[in-house]
């Protein structure tokens, strides 16, 4: 396949355009985070005066700082919730995609219905329940609702992908002399990977971004996550919005996301090229 410079040029322009469109608002946030309080509303895109104060303020005080503990909480909670969610969803999706049993639609429809109920109505009773159970303001107190509301999406995604997997490949591998476990690992797992990593990214970002449960089910930095912590940022006075600090915090917390996505995005397409024994 010959690729002329014309093709390269078109692709370059396209890719640059896409990256700019995707990242321009992030760039704007970055600019806000570098502005001094005096110039934060000066209507300029590029700051007139630069400062790193907003970033420094976020980490003042070590573990008591406004951002450090919430950031740690966010990372741990999102990782644990994502891991458990993918596990549970995989089992369920596997059953739905491959096994025959009554109540399939019930499980699917029911989980969808659960995800559709307005969360604002559920946080009140959840608050009461969690206080009664003693898991208010704990990691598990957030992990459980995150599981609940992320599972439907994960299940649906995985079912959609598991159905596309040619399961007869397993049989073919068995005929070739592989044990069930080998067949699974070498043939099925790579094909399942795109779906699973996709689902993992979606669940992780869902947990990362959640505000409502975080602000309702936590009361201290013990388990408060970043989005909720932002609501506690203070400006210079009661009426001054801590714009610079919030922007700085937002920029900082995208770094774990970038790492997570960078690691996982390759896996989304890895499945097709790795070991597909297709006749």
């Amino acid at each position: 396949m010959r690729r002329g410079t014309r093709e390269y040029t078109i692709w370059s322009v396209g890719i640059v355009a896409i990256i700019i469109a995707a990242l321009f608002p992030v760039f704007w946030l970055l600019m806000i985070s570098l502005k001094t309080p005096a110039t934060v509303g000066d209507k300029r895109l590029i700051p007139k005066e630069w400062t790193l104060d907003n970033y420094e303020a976020l980490f003042k005080g070590g573990l008591d700082s406004p951002l450090l503990q919430p950031l740690i909480n966010s990372i741990i909670i999102a990782l644990i919730a994502t891991t458990i969610a993918i596990f549970l969803a995989s089992f369920t999706a596997y059953a739905i995609a491959r096994l025959s049993f009554p109540g399939k639609s019930l499980v699917l429809g029911g989980s969808l219905a659960i995800a559709m109920f307005p969360p604002i109505s559920t946080v009140g009773p959840l608050f009461d329940m969690w206080r009664a159970l003693g898991i208010y303001d704990t990691y598990i107190g957030l992990i459980i609702p995150y599981l609940t509301f992320a599972l439907p999406l994960a299940i649906y995604t995985l079912v959609a992908f598991f159905r596309e997997i040619p399961w007869e490949l397993e049989q073919a591998a068995a005929v070739d002399g592989a044990t069930p476990l080998q067949a699974f690992r070498k043939v099925i797992a790579p094909l399942a990977a795109p779906g699973m990593f996709t689902a993992a990214i979606l669940v992780f970002i869902f947990c990362w971004n959640d505000f409502l449960f975080a602000i309702t089910l936590t009361s201290s930095n013990d388990s408060r996550t970043v989005p909720a912590a932002l609501a506690f940022f203070t400006g210079e006075s009661q009426f001054t919005a801590p714009t610079g600090n919030i922007a700085a915090a937002a920029i900082l917390v995208t770094i774990p996301i970038i790492i997570f996505v960078l690691l996982f995005q390759r896996r989304i397409v890895a499945g097709l090229t790795a070991g597909a024994v297709k006749g």
Binding site: T36, P37, A38, V40, G41, D42, I76, I80, T83, I84, F87, G124, F127, D128, R131, G134, I135, Y136, D137, T138, Y139, I140, G141, I143, A189, I215, T216, S219, S220, D222, S223, A231, F232, F233, T234, G235, E236, S237, Q238, F239, T240, A241, P242
Partner: protein, 415 residues
Amino acid sequence: MLSRVCVAAVLCLSLGLAACGGDSGGGSNTLNFFIFNEPGGGPQEVAKKCSQESGGKYEIEFTFLPSQADAQREQLVRRLGAEDESIDLMGLDVIWTGEFANAGWLDPVPDDMVGPASSQVFQSVLDTAKFEDRLYAVPIWSNTQLLWYRKDKVGDKPPQTWDQMIEVAERENMKIHVQANRYEGLVVWVNAMILSAGAKIVNGPTEVSLEEGPTKRALEVMGKLANSKAAPPAIDTSNEDSARLGFESGDSIFMVNYPFVYASAKENAPKIYKEMGAAVYPRVDADKESKPPLGGINIGVSSFSKKKDLAYEAIRCMIKAENQITIAEKGGLPPVRSDLYDDPRIQKLYSGFVDPLRDSIEQAGPRPSESPAYTDLSLGIQRGVHPVTEIKDPQESYDKLKEFVEQAVKREGLL
């Protein structure tokens, strides 16, 4: 893929982490104070001082609430609705008194506390802590809006009425900054205008007042400003911060706002700060004294608290004159006691506008906080008045506002 062992480990970890965290009930002498993190740090310092002075009798611990008033209320209401016993002291916005009291979340202030709580305190401020004529909370600091003006443009005596202000601003081709987004700040403005015009919004919890003549006059002035050349282009989404930023950028000649703008200008816009003057809130009619807005914080004791006596002792200490001055010095928050405005430290802190400040709080017109359905009222007023740029015919606007307020007072329908 993670093996089963890993999964088990993860589950154990998260369950184990469940053990850490959780509510800090604290010792039997801990008083939990639920309040937002006041940036100046005054309340925190005062609480620490009082805890020390109590000689071990009580220890005030802060559980911070979010910075926005609505979010604070949400957190408090959720807990109070669940009859949470861990709340002892609460920092209440002046508009929550009636709502919380009627819901049974506040008990009347004990008789022996009423004296200390009210001594020397401005009547207007005390009214914000009352429900059905009894005191349900204790005022600790106040706030009001002043008319900030550019001395280099209008000299030392700014115009007294809104009409005059609009005329001057149009002539100078500069703006007047207010707060008119669809939020509580708009209600602050509307309430001040209506009261300044001589009417009232409600006559008791379920009776709408809104005397036609003065209300129409107030709306007329608001609409006039909103549609004049002096209105900032984004007036329909303006708030305290955008007003401050606008004034600091030099585009405006007048602004109504809280005193925080003075300290802010000193830091962020020194050139503007030099020319900043402050006066009492503008009048709607030249012959009627204006009723400036009233803000501030009252301390409430939760009716579910198990340490009410201790709590009131702590309050008794925190509202002492010395401590009110500390809070003022640290955060610029005006004291609730009128005698403190003669104190040299307060005079120094607010040098240049001590008198307008004291007068403003004295003649201030509180929002109808004794109404238990205040939030309905607030939402109704917001719907009735916003956007101010659409107030072109006072009669129409008046009818619209009246309709919404009547619906709100009856707590009917969707708002």
